[in-house]
């Protein structure tokens, strides 16, 4: 019948509009600032006086130290989370014991706590512990909020790993330790990588957790951006810095999806 064909078409058009709007709005978060970073000038204005790449080079001296710190912290948090998280994930997936569910939920705890409250708690104790404006201080703050993502990723990898493989290695004479390094670790590699990349992306961009405990010596990029905004407002240079942050995050996400597999995205939020 003609009306159902029309209805179907209307339905398709509505879906098309909805999805387009949704996707466009979400991508605008990135593209607005990205476009703006190529504008000539030092203030926010449309239309721009011209286009240039200068903004990316002009912010080098100011922004790059902060960028380097954020990159370092991102990587370090990834490493730290792996060291703590892999054994924990192993114990949680390979053994049954009382309190396992409790510990499992507990370790996902940071997702149930507001970041600003936790950050406040750090503000209360870091001075006493001498961890204000320090590498380790920032590292621990970033690690506690990203650990659940590492845990979920690695636990998922362990669950997919057939125990028969580890048992086979043992029957062939491999000790527990050898089995772990020769068989288990290589096979959970993708899961670890996924957790690492997720950790990096979040730690690299994190703002709330470090807002109280950063300092002049250790000033991550996110705080740098906030300070810049406060002082100068939005400028093409500012936009360039933001664009760099987002491009790095995109690159990591790209690696995650391409190299490791789309399914790891499922676990991002939950």
């Amino acid at each position: 019948m003609g009306s159902t064909k029309l209805n179907k078409l209307i339905g398709k058009v509505i879906w098309g509009i909805y999805i387009t709007v949704l996707v466009v709005v979400l991508w605008m978060i990135f593209f607005m600032l990205f476009f703006h970073s190529f504008f000539k000038g030092v203030t926010l204005e449309f239309p721009p006086q011209g286009f240039t790449l200068e903004n990316y080079t002009s912010i080098t001296n100011q922004f790059y130290p902060a960028l380097r710190i954020s990159l370092l912290l991102g990587l370090a948090t990834g490493v730290f989370n792996s060291i703590l998280g892999i054994p924990a994930a192993y114990a949680l997936t390979r053994y049954e014991f009382i309190g396992k569910n409790l510990i499992n939920t507990f370790l996902l705890g940071p997702t149930m706590v507001p970041a600003i409250s936790l950050a406040l708690g750090f503000l209360a104790f870091y001075p006493q512990w001498g961890m204000m404006d320090s590498f380790w201080g920032l590292l621990f703050a970033l690690s506690i909020v990203t650990m659940p993502y590492m845990l979920r990723s690695v636990m998922s990898a362990f669950n997919e790993l057939d125990t028969a493989l580890e048992e086979a290695a043992q029957t062939l004479g491999a000790s527990r330790l050898k089995t772990f390094f020769l068989i288990t670790l290589p096979l959970i590699g993708p899961g670890v990588m996924a957790g690492f990349l997720l950790t990096f992306i979040i730690a690299f961009n994190e703002f709330t957790m470090i807002i109280f405990v950063y300092g002049p010596k250790w000033l991550p990029a996110s705080v740098w951006l906030w300070n810049m905004l406060h002082m100068y407002g939005i400028t093409p240079g500012f936009a360039a810095a933001v664009a760099i942050m987002q491009l790095v995050s995109f690159a990591m996400l790209f690696i995650l999806v391409r190299v490791i597999g789309r399914r790891y995205l499922q676990g991002v939020a939950f």
Binding site: E167, A169, T171, L172, S175, L187
Partner: protein, 363 residues
């Protein structure tokens, strides 16, 4: 060459008693099968022997050496898994070489032994491939090579053929049998497939609900099952209520019972009394079936007349369900007679029973 002795092995999982005080001895060089349905405890027993599961109580001896506290890696066993378990991130060569590398053998020796092992399972030339590039049968062969190359004292097989199709299963079954004959290693095989067990084993242990029900050679188990479970698990069987009418003091294993409205001579391993109610076992393939033509001849022992209710021709045999005296008997007809009876529903038929055995009811 090692013998395996298991004494009172017990293992519980949560609330389930998986293995209930199982004891047996396997002589050096034997190929023995633990046979039973899923959940009977056969795999658990095997895993305890391998060291992958810890028994709650009981002892396991390799050659009179207690191995309860010996870790898996040190038991010098070879285990072939149901689920293959080839290392996906290693090539075929590295998979097979793994055990030898754990033993820290020199490189040349490893290369030589791996090549020999792959030749033994007819997988030469596949050294550089990855497991995912191989078919299921090929993977299982490589797994077999990996298991054998380290020259273990004992070989353990945990239902290795159940994930393969029928043709591959046959091929590999013969391969395993051949390898056992060539190497003479003590082998413990676990399966739920009775035909498989019979095809390769010297001795079969039938397990049920965590207990060892019966042990014996394939023929012993076939001819003289000692319980209804074994009787129905080994091949097909007809279970018929019967009453003992005559015992033979001169030959204690032979007796006569009344069943199906006639007198049937059978054998038994039990001590019975006249008048006792027992269960008569008749195998479908031990029933001789001929169409009834002329008048009924005088009743002979071990003969009955019945009517065909179901008849199915499946090529190598004809399967019949025959109503005799309020019982339905399953009959498998082989040989030339199977054609005549291929479509015999409704016909009258004469059945002659052979090799019947008697067991206590409800054991």
């Amino acid at each position: 060459m090692t013998s395996v002795r298991v004494e009172n092995l017990t293992k519980t999982f949560g609330k389930t008693l998986a293995v209930d005080s199982v004891s047996f001895t396997i002589e050096d060089g034997q190929l023995v099968t633990l046979l039973g349905p899923s959940g009977c405890g056969k795999s658990t027993t095997l895993r305890c022997i391998a060291g992958l599961a810890e028994p709650d109580s009981g002892y396991i001896y390799f050659d009179d050496r207690l191995v309860n506290d010996v870790p898996v890696a040190k038991r010098n066993i070879g285990l072939l898994f149901q689920r293959l378990a080839l290392f996906p991130h290693m090539k075929v060569f590295d998979n097979v070489a793994f055990g030898l590398r754990m033993q820290r053998r020199p490189k040349e020796e490893i290369k030589q032994r791996v090549t020999e092992a792959l030749a033994l399972v007819q997988m030469s030339g596949f050294e550089e491939r990855y497991p995912r590039q191989l078919s299921g049968g090929q993977q299982q062969r490589v797994a077999l090579a990996r298991t054998m190359v380290t020259d273990p004292d004992i070989l353990l097989f945990d239902e290795p053929l159940s994930s393969l199709d029928a043709k591959l299963r046959d091929e590999l079954k013969n391969e395993i049998r051949r390898l056992h004959q060539e190497t003479g290693k003590t082998t413990i095989y676990v399966t739920h497939d009775q035909a498989e067990a019979f095809a390769i084993s010297d001795k079969v242990y039938v397990m049920h609900d965590g207990k060892l029900e019966q042990e014996g050679t394939p023929i012993e188990l076939y001819l003289n099952p000692i319980s209804p479970f074994v009787a129905s698990f080994i091949g097909a069987n007809n279970f018929i209520e019967a009453r003992v009418v005559e015992l033979n003091p001169a030959e204690p294993g032979k007796l006569a019972v009344e069943a199906l409205g006639c007198r049937i001579e059978a054998s038994t391993a039990e001590q019975l009394r006249v008048g006792e109610t027992v269960t008569l076992l008749i195998r479908p393939e031990d029933i001789d079936a001929t169409p009834v033509v002329a008048e009924s001849p005088p009743p002979e022992p071990n003969t009955a007349i019945g009517q065909v209710k179901v008849s199915t021709f499946s090529g190598s045999n004809t399967y019949l369900e025959v109503a005799v005296n309020q019982h339905i008997l399953k009959v498998s007809v082989f040989g030339a007679a199977r054609f005549a009876l291929a479509n015999s529903v409704g016909q009258a038929i004469r059945l002659r029973f052979d090799r019947c055995s008697v067991i206590r009811t409800g054991r």
